[in-house]
C-alpha cells in the first residue's frame, strides 16, 4: 500500500511524519537534530529513501545531514560552502558594498535522476552543487557572478537563494529565486544565468519594473507543463507561460496577494494553492482566519478553503518552503505554520485536519509519496 512521508523542518529540529494512503493516522519520528534550526529537508526523486537536511545554529554554523533509509538514521556529510574566487561585494541594507559571506543553507534540491547530485541555495545568495552525495559542495559561480550581483540587496530575512526549480523536460534548465533580486534562469546546467523578471512590478524599489531587485518569495512548476511557472511575490501572485520570459499578475479575487508559499496540485497543472497573509507588516492571515486559497484556473479566480482550519483568533504565518503536495490519486496538500501546527488535506484542499499541534515554528514541509 502506498503512503506519505512528510519531512518537516522546524526552528528546533526535524520531524518525519508517516501515514498510509488514507492519511488519517500519522506516526511521528523526531526531533532529529534537536535544538538546531532545520531550514529544509528533502528527498531524492530518484531514491525516496535518500534524504538531505540543512541543519544550522548561530553558534556552530551549517551542517548537512544525509539519510539513506528514509530518515531512520542520519549521518553528517560535507558542510564547507566556499564561494569561488574572490567573493566580492553585494549591497547591504544601507546601500553600501558588503562582502559576500556564507550564513546558511536555505534550500536543498536533489537532482531528478541522481540521488548523489543535489543543489543547495544559500545565504548570502549563491548556488552550490554536490555530485558525491553531499561530501563536497562546489559553487556554480555564474549566478552570483552575474553583472547585477554587486547590486543585489538582502530582503528582511537576509539575502537568500530560497527556491530552486529543475526543469524535467528541457535539459540543463534551472530556475532560482533570490530575495531580493528575483528569478534567474540557466539553460546550461547552472553555468550561465540571466534574470527573468519582465512583468514584475514592485512598489518598494526605486524602479518598479527593474530587471533585478524584486522580492520573489517562491516559484512553483508542474512537471507536465514546465514552461508554466507560478510565483508568490512579496506582493502579487504571478504567472508565466513562457518559461519566465514574461509574467502577468493572477492575484484576481484574493483577499490579499501578500504571502510566502505557492504550490501546484500533483495531477492538475492549473490548480494552484497560496496562503494569503495580511501584509508585509502583519505576517498573519486576514481577520485571524487561516485560509488556503485554491485556483483551478491557474490563477485569477480563487476560492477559500476553510473546512478544518481555524477561522478565528489565528495569527500564524506559513513560510515559503512550508507547503507541499503528495501524488496519491487524491492529491494531498500539507502546510506548516510558525505556530507549530502541520495541517493536511487528503482531498486536494476541500477539508483539512491538524496532523501536529505543538511543534516548534515550522520552516519547511516536504511530502513524499512512498510506494
Amino acid at each position: 500500500m502506498t503512503g506519505v512521508r512528510l519531512l518537516v523542518g522546524t526552528r528546533k529540529g526535524a520531524f518525519v511524519l508517516t501515514a498510509d494512503g488514507s492519511r488519517r493516522e500519522w506516526q511521528v519520528s523526531g526531533p532529529h537534530f534537536g535544538g538546531w534550526e532545520i531550514y529544509h529537508v528533502k528527498g531524492s526523486p530518484a531514491d525516496p529513501d535518500r534524504l538531505y537536511a540543512a541543519q544550522h545554529t548561530g553558534w556552530s554554523g551549517q551542517v548537512i545531514q544525509r539519510s539513506d533509509d528514509g530518515g531512520v538514521t542520519w549521518n553528517p556529510v560535507g558542510n564547507h560552502f566556499g564561494y569561488e574566487g574572490v567573493p566580492g561585494t553585494h549591497q547591504w541594507y544601507d546601500g553600501t558594498p558588503h562582502p559576500w559571506e556564507f550564513e546558511r543553507v536555505w534550500h536543498l534540491e536533489p537532482s531528478l535522476d541522481d540521488p548523489d547530485t543535489v543543489y543547495a541555495g544559500v545565504e548570502d545568495a549563491g548556488l552550490f552543487k554536490t555530485t558525491d552525495g553531499g561530501q563536497h559542495w562546489q559553487e556554480l559561480p555564474g549566478l552570483r557572478g552575474h553583472r547585477s550581483g554587486s547590486e543585489w540587496q538582502p530582503g528582511a530575512g537576509g539575502m537568500c537563494l530560497h527556491t530552486i526549480v529543475l526543469d524535467p523536460v528541457t535539459s540543463g534548465r534551472i530556475y532560482t529565486a533570490i530575495s531580493a533580486a528575483g528569478v534567474f534562469r540557466s539553460d546550461d546546467d547552472g553555468a550561465t544565468w540571466r534574470p527573468v523578471n519582465r512583468g514584475l512590478h514592485s512598489e518598494g524599489i526605486p524602479e518598479p519594473e527593474a530587471e533585478v531587485g524584486h522580492c520573489v518569495h517562491r516559484i512553483a512548476m508542474h512537471p507536465s507543463r514546465p514552461d508554466v511557472l507560478y510565483m508568490q511575490k512579496h506582493w502579487d501572485v504571478m504567472r508565466s507561460d513562457d518559461a519566465g520570459e514574461s509574467w502577468r499578475e493572477v492575484s484576481g479575487n484574493l483577499p490579499t496577494d501578500f504571502g510566502f508559499p505557492i504550490d501546484v496540485h500533483a495531477h492538475e497543472p492549473a490548480t494552484i494553492y497560496v496562503v494569503p497573509i495580511t501584509s508585509d507588516a502583519l505576517h498573519f492571515p486576514p481577520d485571524g482566519q487561516l485560509r488556503v486559497y485554491r485556483s483551478r484556473t491557474g490563477g485569477d479566480d480563487w476560492e477559500p478553503l476553510t473546512h478544518g482550519l481555524p477561522q478565528q483568533h489565528c495569527y500564524v504565518n506559513v513560510l515559503r518552503d512550508a507547503m507541499s503536495v503528495d501524488s496519491l490519486e487524491e492529491c494531498g496538500v500539507y502546510f506548516g505554520t510558525t505556530g507549530g501546527q502541520v495541517y493536511g488535506s487528503a482531498d486536494a484542499g476541500d477539508t483539512w485536519l491538524p496532523i501536529m499541534h505543538d511543534l516548534p515554528a515550522v520552516l519547511s514541509v516536504e511530502a513524499q509519496t512512498i510506494a
Binding site: G35, T57, S60, Q62, P76
Partner: protein
C-alpha cells in the same frame, strides 16, 4: 593526552560521550588542539572555527584554568595544566538569546 570538553550540541553532533582525549604533537596551542580535534572528528570542521579563516565563530568561547582564552592568539601556548592533561580545555557555546 589533552582533555577537551565540548558543548552538548557538538557532543551530540559528533556522537561523543563525555570528554575528548586528544594526542597533540608539538606545541600545545589552541590551534593545534583544535586541528587535532577536527582531524579526529571531521564533522566538527566549521562548527567551532570558520572553515577557511580558522577564526573562532562569534558565539563560541574557549576557557581553561578559569581563564577566558577566546581572544588569545591561536598559536600561544595553552596553560601547562592543559598540556599536562590535569585541566580540560573548554569549548563553550556563549550564552546568547536572552
Amino acid at each position: 593526552m589533552i582533555r577537551v570538553v565540548l558543548p552538548a550540541h557538538l557532543r551530540s553532533l559528533a556522537r561523543i560521550d563525555g570528554e575528548v582525549a586528544l594526542e597533540v604533537t608539538g606545541p600545545v596551542t589552541q590551534a593545534t588542539v583544535l586541528d587535532s580535534l577536527e582531524a579526529a572528528y571531521p564533522v566538527l570542521c566549521g562548527t567551532i572555527r570558520e572553515q577557511q579563516t580558522k577564526q573562532r565563530r562569534a558565539f563560541i568561547r574557549f576557557f581553561a584554568c578559569q581563564q577566558d582564552l577566546s581572544h588569545e592568539p591561536p598559536d600561544a601556548p595553552l596553560p601547562e595544566q592543559v598540556a599536562a592533561g590535569t585541566e580540560p580545555y573548554l569549548v563553550v557555546g556563549a550564552m546568547a538569546g536572552g
